[in-house]
Subunit: 155 residues, 2 copies
Amino acid sequence: MNQESIISPFSDEYFMKQALEEAHKAFDEEEIPVGAIVVCNNRIIARAHNLTERLNDVTAHAEMQAITAAANYLGGKYLKDCTLYVTLEPCNMCAGALAWSQISKIVYGASDDKRGYTRFSPNPMHPRTEVVSGIMKEESANLIKDFFTRKRMSL
Amino acid sequence: MNQESIISPFSDEYFMKQALEEAHKAFDEEEIPVGAIVVCNNRIIARAHNLTERLNDVTAHAEMQAITAAANYLGGKYLKDCTLYVTLEPCNMCAGALAWSQISKIVYGASDDKRGYTRFSPNPMHPRTEVVSGIMKEESANLIKDFFTRKRMSL
């Protein structure tokens, strides 16, 4: 039995693996590899990865696109019964957007000491949003490290 | 000579008046009336107003759309030689986006004590971004007050 088969369906690890798949897509497209999904009633209703380079748009973070896509799917702008899984700690912009969405829960992988929202006070997230961190953090952080190592080597 | 004709071209008041025009469009479309423009070399390269209701999208603030539109016009994602004029103090999401854009200058009208970015520390804006506040603040604030008064009367 390999390690993948022991991840329970609908666990935070299960869904973070899906977000990590999105991050790998970003990596392959030479974007900083961050991926996100939105889950509602155990169904994935949005998938996105960072597209700031391709779209020439600093606002095209994985989380921003996932919020827009999830709201579009639901037909309403609030994500009150949803969970966002994202491989990297959201930045302040994304935390602000998540606060406006009133999302129920956020699960992130690696911490971002330089750009993460947890550097700011008061807490930028909505007071009713539950936050879980550190899920598959090594895989998420290693992918980003590999990306920048490869970038430096190609310079 | 009426009051409009004494506003010098290319002054902060001149451009804020254009942002206020955008806010009036939002008002007419039953959106919270906030408008923004981006100016580069004294030319308006982007105009936007809040569209969160029409687009069912919490990220559709005037500033976010103006950043995306300006980057699209310039063909690059950084707004280093640009100024954003916005009728209301940016929220934390928009401040985060403006920080990523490395915009040179931001001019806003009315303050937003509840949702404005200046409540947060450290300062969410880029350290090289100049910020000017209070330009045409009464007009900007009154439009928002009128909007909510009308909303309450129609309930």
